[in-house]
Symmetry: C2
Subunit: 138 residues, 2 copies
Amino acid sequence: MKTSIIKKMREKGLKLTPQRLAIIEVLVDKTHLHPGASLIYREAMKKVGSLSLSTVYSTLNEFSRHGIIKMLEFDKMENRYEGNIMEHINLVCKGCNKIMDYKVPVSIDLKEVAKKARFWVTDTRLEYHGYCQECKGK
Amino acid sequence: MKTSIIKKMREKGLKLTPQRLAIIEVLVDKTHLHPGASLIYREAMKKVGSLSLSTVYSTLNEFSRHGIIKMLEFDKMENRYEGNIMEHINLVCKGCNKIMDYKVPVSIDLKEVAKKARFWVTDTRLEYHGYCQECKGK
DNA sequence: TTAGCTGCAAACTATTTGCCCTAAG
DNA sequence: CTTAGGGCAAATAGTTTGCAGCTAA
């Protein structure tokens, strides 16, 4: 995943700075956690030494704008990021804020949406909110 | 839609204050716009005279927590609300922030999710982001 | 009567922005 | 050498919260 991200960065003409490489490494290593900016900042800082939170934000923003990574936006909690840009549903636990991937068993034809609703889809946001096994009991 | 909301409020033991009734009326009237708190505040204020923004927020929060209405959460723009709680996809235009409903042609069995992923879904958040017809050209 | 609601103001916090400096290509 | 990117500090803005009255039921 890391190499494919770097390849995309080169393709798009984005600079490969030590800070960016550290951010990507953390995102890839912890992608199962769907880390937020603060976690990425803390972990990447350990690797690179010199890093600011605003750099983390601007980097993740830019990469997400380029479709290299995916930003999961939330209102009540910090945004989360993932390297897996394949279409899937994110299961968001209301109890512990854990996020898990769920492989989509069905898929909607986006051409249908363009035709029926006259709407051109650029990205999808599919989430199920609820409770994971650990939090269900409480 | 308005009467069914009021019915649900009674069922849940929620008080029907003039402020709440005005908020509901606006939400129902403008539900196609998927209004935000500020629009609801402005419009409801015209109806009821005495109203504060924090009342709007607490009311919409509580109703959404009870599953009476649905809150669409965003990071970059204000949250939006809708009275239509049937499962559907919201088409969110990145150009003008317009939100449209799209009837879901397929549906995922939530029991499958519970079994396969051990995750108990309480609510769904299905959005396609992109550009509406007006914004597509720009 | 009283639990729940309203309203004001202050607080919160994740994110963004402006500006100047640094370094990647 | 040129311009994108990094870092700091300050600003932003939607939302929440604490608390002192109200009022719907």
